[in-house]
């Protein structure tokens, strides 16, 4: 089947805010198990693109399908249950919850027991909670932050919060992970650590990953295919070495005036 190797397929996507075309006629696809990069200057519409996939924005035109099912006009929680999970550019953890509770949340976002047993506090409820906590601990272990499990998430350092966000996204029983600038504000060593981590996650969890990133090293080392967005339009697509030498991409990064229509 053709659908099985195209995990995500985006056709003729248009997102318009009034007269501004934030995304203009973009076609993209992610194959199953592929690591795809999405780069572009600031304001190119990368995060808007993510928002439209996860259901925060309803596209003006176009289709988005995941494993053969349409994602348009579905609410974000339903899309999440279809196996798409993401991290955010500006960290959005639950600051007053503990690290463990943060990671537990996506596992029990659809409660696994009914309301009345929850209110009565039955022993089965406590067992279920314990089972979920153990499951969450596995993810914390994988990201190497299990030592902080009882800390308040908001009190963690920036790097650890980024890791926590990835752990939380992984816990959501996913098959497609959207990473929005995971290396923002990190130095070289931290970037290398992140590359190793993401590489491992990609292999171990058998995921398709789409990565938005400004650190070009990270993108070149991780991604097998790269899309370049500029001013809402798809500028180029190809393997890392093709993108590096593409004159359009270089011009876009150095800056260009928006054409008068």
């Amino acid at each position: 089947m053709n659908n099985s190797d195209n995990a995500l397929k985006v056709n003729n996507l248009v997102i318009r805010f009034g007269g501004l075309y934030a995304i203009d006629n973009v076609n993209m696809h992610i194959n199953k198990g592929e690591f795809v990069g999405l780069i572009g200057p600031n304001g190119a519409g990368k995060t808007t693109f993510f928002n439209s996939i996860t259901g925060n924005l309803i596209p003006t035109e176009g289709t988005i399908t995941y494993q053969g099912k349409s994602l348009i006009k579905k609410s974000p929680d339903k899309i999440s249950h279809m196996g798409i999970s993401r991290t955010f550019q500006n960290i959005r953890i639950f600051p007053k919850m503990t690290v463990l509770e943060n990671v537990c949340l996506p596992i029990h976002s659809k409660p696994t027991y009914n309301l009345f047993s929850a209110m009565l506090g039955l022993p089965s409820v406590k067992n279920e909670d314990k089972r979920i906590q153990e499951k969450a601990l596995d993810f914390l272990n994988r990201l190497g932050i299990e030592a902080y499990k009882d800390h308040q998430a908001g009190a963690l350092s920036y790097g650890l919060q980024r890791r926590l966000e990835i752990a939380r996204a992984l816990a959501a029983d996913l098959s497609l992970l959207l990473l929005d600038e995971p290396a923002a504000g990190m130095n070289n060593d931290e970037c290398n650590e992140l590359i190793e981590l993401l590489h491992g996650i990609h292999k171990d969890f058998n995921l398709s990953i789409m990565l938005i990133e400004h650190h070009i090293d990270v993108v070149l080392k991780l991604c097998s295919r790269i899309y370049v967005l500029n001013l809402g339009k798809l500028l180029a697509e190809g393997a890392p070495h093709e993108i590096q030498s593409n004159p359009d991409v270089i011009r876009a990064y150095l800056g260009e005036r928006r054409k008068k229509q």
Binding site: T54, N56, S75, P76, D77, S80, H81, S85, R86, F88, R92, I93, F94, P95, K96, M97, E101, C104, L105, P106, H108, S109, K110, P111, T112, Y113, L115, A118, M119, L120, G121, V125, D129, I132, R168, A172
Partner: protein
């Protein structure tokens, strides 16, 4: 007898405030009209008992379910359209007022319009009120610490992320609204069967505001905080009765101080327990000198500031 009446009032307030704590403290939605739910619960319970001879406990529970039904009817359209924050609070304010005005203007022999229902049998005793309060607080405690409660907290802290992690926003918010409506309705029923008289004016907007104020004083994201606050504020209100209208001034001053120095409430994000209290006092006794120094510095700063202002003037 006087003491009993104070204790029953405290129980009634606790049940209502705990219900509101789920909605406001845990899910993060402000409501200015929960007296409306209380009103519905009280009327339904009392009328069922009076005309259909439904026993006390069942009347209270059925009153609760009537309120849940109403809360779903008002909650679904407002929450589905992502009405949040102040808008939702104003919507609920309107709801509370509408319920009161409808009952005020229904001039029939059953509800008696603004005169209210009199001669209600006194079925609430001190012990039944206490028992109801304890059972309902226990249920709420379990709920808040369950997966359902955690989903509510997630929505309060970071709605976008919670939705992206698979929490259904509409369903979770509706659930917490319905449960808080149930709690308020039961507390209204308990109050009705204790006072032996209910009228629309019993459930005025002031009551909703009092609940919200008690909750904010007690602390958001906490059960024991609002519980202690409602005990404290209700008894304080009784003590201050001698002051007549001045009690409202004391009340207001207290809230200003709390909003200034403890914006999350006295027990915000904390629960009262013996362990925590012992820990607190241990730390306090160990760091007595440090804390005293801190206070001295704080006071010095305050006086310095005022001095500067005087100089400027």
């Amino acid at each position: 007898m006087y003491i009993a009446s104070v204790v029953v009032t405290i129980c009634v307030n606790i049940v209502a405030v705990i219900g509101l704590a789920l909605l406001t403290g845990y899910t993060g939605m402000f409501s200015l009209g929960h007296a409306g739910f209380m009103c519905i619960g009280a009327y339904v319970a009392v009328l069922l008992n009076k005309y259909f001879i439904v026993p006390y406990v069942f009347a209270l529970i059925l009153g609760g379910f009537a309120s849940v039904l109403v809360s779903l009817i008002i909650g679904y359209p407002t929450l589905r359209n992502k009405l949040r924050g102040d808008y939702f609070a104003i919507c609920m304010l309107g709801f509370g007022t509408v319920v009161r005005l409808i009952l005020n203007n229904m001039n029939n022999p059953i509800t008696n319009g603004a005169l209210g229902i009199t001669n209600i049998p006194k079925l609430t005793t001190l012990w039944s009120a206490l028992l109801f309060m304890l059972v309902l607080v226990y249920f709420m405690w379990n709920f808040v610490n369950s997966q359902y409660g955690k989903n509510c907290v997630a929505i309060q802290q970071q709605e976008v992320a919670a939705e992206m992690m698979g929490v259904s926003i509409v369903r979770t918010k509706l659930l917490s609204l319905a449960i808080s409506a149930f709690y308020c309705a039961v507390s209204g029923g308990i109050l009705g069967f204790w006072l032996q008289y209910i009228a629309p004016a019993t459930f005025s907007d002031t009551r909703s505001n009092d609940f919200l104020a008690t909750l904010v004083t007690g602390g958001i994201n906490s059960i024991t905080g609002p519980l202690l606050a409602s005990v404290f504020l209700t008894t304080m209100l009784e003590y201050l009765r001698f002051f007549a209208n001045w009690r409202l001034v004391v009340y207001g001053l207290l809230f200003i101080l709390i909003m200034r120095f403890l914006p999350e409430g006295i027990m915000g994000y904390k629960e009262f327990s013996l362990k925590n209290t012992i820990k607190f006092f241990k730390e306090f006794s160990q760091n007595k000198v440090k804390i005293m120094e801190k206070w001295m510095r704080f006071c010095a700063k305050l006086t310095k500031k005022t001095n500067n202002k005087e100089r400027k003037l």
